[in-house]
């Protein structure tokens, strides 16, 4: 990269000021470049197209302030990242390439995975910016006689539902529920699973046997049967759903981590740590878990997609998020009542689920290839 002269760098800086991300796209690092560029353009579009709403959000409720905050933060982040990247020194680039750097490079080469990642970032941005984007309030009911089951039109791009509510707005607000529940539930399950798996693998003996037998038992249940039994009997609330989803997914993670730890345990660096007299807690938390993290990250990414489908399923059965809070699963269920007359009601929330889960699966696959050195080319 020595051909980048000072003059060239200045030119990139000018480009970066107006369109951050574009220099990176043109220089061939299109994964990071497009992410930043699209974030920048998207946020600017929101500011310009919904100017009054952005200004009005200043004195609004917490979610409007959250949206405003997201807007400011992502604009700043995109701009400063690109600026620093363009004007940063070239020398330090190739020194000290870590495993993570290698993984990032391998991941960036995988085009479909990068597209998936961009879609996911876009989804989270949309979820956070919803109050500024949605054409209507998600619970706002139009005239029940004239505006019920209106098909696709200019005023309602995705039609209206049985209570004359705008489907597009509900779809946008529904993204929040799905993405938030997916993220939180998987965080819970990954933390619990990693910890228990590592403990089981490292300790061995009776502790291992107890934990893994419990894992076997939980895995033996068809997950949805267990979920509807618990949620159906204990009652449904967002807290309950997140807790139950999180606490039924961890056995899978625990199995993966245990397997990793079993092989790591015999390696020299763990022996060295033991010889140095480190406590078991320290060895598990500082030495074993970080090294077993690769497959966990993959499992977590795929798990988010899986959890979003399950949450939608629970909502579809009426056990998930309770109306009138919009949720993709509930919206699909509403469409069941008049499938032929109002086909758009079930179709679009379902497509939203499919594309969200698809993105998570693409990223998960990409991460699997990137994080496993054996698969790297």
């Amino acid at each position: 990269m020595s051909d980048r002269s000072l003059a060239g760098r200045r030119r990139w800086r000018v480009v970066s000021t107006v369109l951050p991300g574009l220099p990176q796209v043109l220089m061939g690092r299109w994964g990071a470049g497009w992410t930043v560029l699209l974030t920048w353009l998207g946020c600017l579009w929101v500011v310009m197209a919904h100017y009054e709403r952005v200004v009005g959000a200043l004195g609004g409720g917490w979610d409007q302030n959250l949206a405003l905050g997201t807007l400011v933060v992502s604009l700043t982040l995109a701009w400063t990242w690109s600026w620093r990247d363009v004007s940063g020194s070239d020398e330090s680039k190739d020194v000290g390439v870590s495993q993570w750097d290698l993984a990032v490079r391998a991941f960036s080469k995988n085009r479909t995975a990068v597209v998936g990642l961009i879609v996911i970032i876009g989804l989270y941005l949309v979820a956070l910016l919803t109050p500024l984007l949605a054409p209507y309030d998600p619970t706002f009911q139009g005239d029940l006689i004239t505006e019920r089951y209106v098909g696709l039109s200019a005023t309602h791009p995705l039609g209206t539902d049985n209570y004359a509510r705008d489907v597009l707005s509900r779809l946008l607000y529904g993204a929040r529920i799905s993405l938030a529940i997916g993220f939180v539930a998987v965080s819970i399950s990954v933390s619990v699973g990693t910890l228990l798996g590592a403990v089981a693998g490292f300790m061995g003996g009776i502790v291992d046997a107890m934990i893994m037998r419990f894992v076997d038992i939980v895995i033996s249940f068809p997950r949805l049967v267990l979920l509807i039994t618990i949620i159906g009997l204990f009652g449904s609330s967002i807290f309950m759903i997140v807790a139950v989803l999180g606490l039924t997914l961890w056995p899978g993670t625990a199995r993966i981590v245990r397997g990793e730890v079993l092989s790591l345990r015999e390696r020299e660096f763990i022996q060295a740590a033991t010889a140095l007299g480190y406590s078991k807690r320290r060895i598990i938390l500082r030495h074993l878990i970080p090294n077993a993290l690769g497959p966990v990250i993959v499992a977590a990414t795929l798990g988010i997609g899986n959890t979003i489908v399950l949450e939608a399923g629970l909502s579809f059965l009426g056990l998930g998020v309770q109306p009138p809070t919009p949720s993709w699963g509930t919206m699909v269920a509403v469409g069941r009542d008049d499938l032929l007359g109002a086909w758009w009601l079930s179709t679009f929330p379902g497509l939203a689920i499919v594309f969200t889960v698809l993105s998570f699966n693409l990223v998960g696959d990409g991460l699997r290839d990137a994080l496993d050195p054996r698969l790297r080319t």
């Binding site: 033996s220 249940f221 068809p222 049967v225 159906g232 399923g313 179709t347 689920i353």
Partner: protein
């Protein structure tokens, strides 16, 4: 081999015990009880108490727990409160329907999955391979309940009412209303037609996973020396792939049976609810809301046991089919 099977069977016993325990406590620690189902405004406290005695709900938890464990051994799962019949009888009414549906779905899923995966592996990196991968991943990411609705919408409702297609599939139930008046061949046709949509909605999601796995497994096999030898002998590609490679490529796919059975059973809850299919999944789902504890417990327990059995069978099959694997 016999020793391996026996050991595997013995190891399932604590598993079954654990499953029974979790089912019991998940159901019995929940607030509310079955008497709510019979509650009416004019009822006195005495009647409710008497009802609790009749259902055995007045006993302390540990007594009920032991009684539940005993029930498993004797096969007496008590009385279903909502159906007013022995639980076992109720389950035996619905179990065959679920099994037929699951078996059809499993068969279709593996058939399609194996064929598609093989084609992809043989034509690796071709346009067909990559386009199939995209389509499969699309189905893989699909919730089965949405797929079911979309299939109803296109192959049943639109096909019949809007597009006037010559063939459309019924979207609910297990047989038509006039089933009893049909001739034998018409009866068979009627049943098959009713099976198509539920089977497809369950199977397509699984097919994607199986095909992905099959592709990987096949790729590994066709790179081996004996395949090159077979090709060098001058055998046609079809013979090499389907006679030599397929056998070995199928071995790891067997483990998927054990893995996908729970997914399949989870799916039946949606599919049976959507298609009004009188099966176990829908029965449990309905029973939960009426708080029919004996039925919920027995149903959930049955589902878990079937998973355990499926895993056992898959493990044993795996050991039988692949002589390279020794279990000691």
């Amino acid at each position: 081999m016999t020793r391996y099977i026996i050991r595997r069977l013995l190891s399932a016993i604590p598993l079954v015990l654990g499953i029974a325990t979790i089912v019991f406590f998940a159901v019995n620690l929940a607030p509310g009880d079955p008497t709510l189902y019979f509650l009416s405004p004019g009822m006195t406290q005495d009647v409710i108490e008497q009802m609790r005695v009749n259902f055995g709900l007045d006993q302390p938890v540990h007594v009920r727990y032991l009684r539940w464990l005993g029930a498993m051994l004797t096969g007496d799962f008590g009385y279903s409160i909502s159906h007013s019949r022995p639980v076992l009888e109720v389950l035996m009414d619905f179990l065959p329907n679920t099994l037929v549906l699951s078996a059809c779905a499993l068969f279709v899923a593996f058939l399609f999955g194996i064929i598609i995966g093989t084609i992809q592996a043989v034509r690796q990196y071709s346009v067909m391979d990559s386009s199939m991968s995209v389509v499969l991943l699309f189905f893989y990411s699909m919730p089965s309940f949405w797929l079911a609705l979309m299939l109803i919408l296109t192959l049943s409702l639109f096909a019949r009412n809007v597009w006037d297609l010559p063939i459309w599939f019924p979207a609910s139930g297990i047989v038509s209303v006039d089933y009893d008046f049909l001739t034998l061949s018409e009866k068979v046709r009627d049943r098959v037609m009713h099976l198509v949509l539920p089977t497809l909605s369950l199977a397509l999601v699984l097919t994607a996973g199986i095909a992905r796995y099959m592709r990987g497994s096949m790729l590994e096999v066709i790179r081996q020396d004996y395949i090159r030898t077979a090709k060098a002998k001058g055998l046609s590609e079809a013979v090499v792939v389907f006679k030599h490679a397929l056998r070995n490529a199928l071995i790891p796919v067997i483990t998927l049976v054990g893995l996908y059975i729970p997914v399949l059973f989870s799916g039946t809850i949606f599919i049976e609810t959507i298609f009004a299919w009188p099966g176990m999944g829908r029965t449990i789902y309905d029973a939960i809301f009426i708080r029919d504890y004996p039925l919920v417990m027995a149903g959930t327990f049955f589902f878990a046991i079937m998973v355990v059995v499926a895993n056992l069978i898959a493990d044993v099959l795996y050991a039988v089919i692949d002589p390279r694997i020794r279990y000691e």
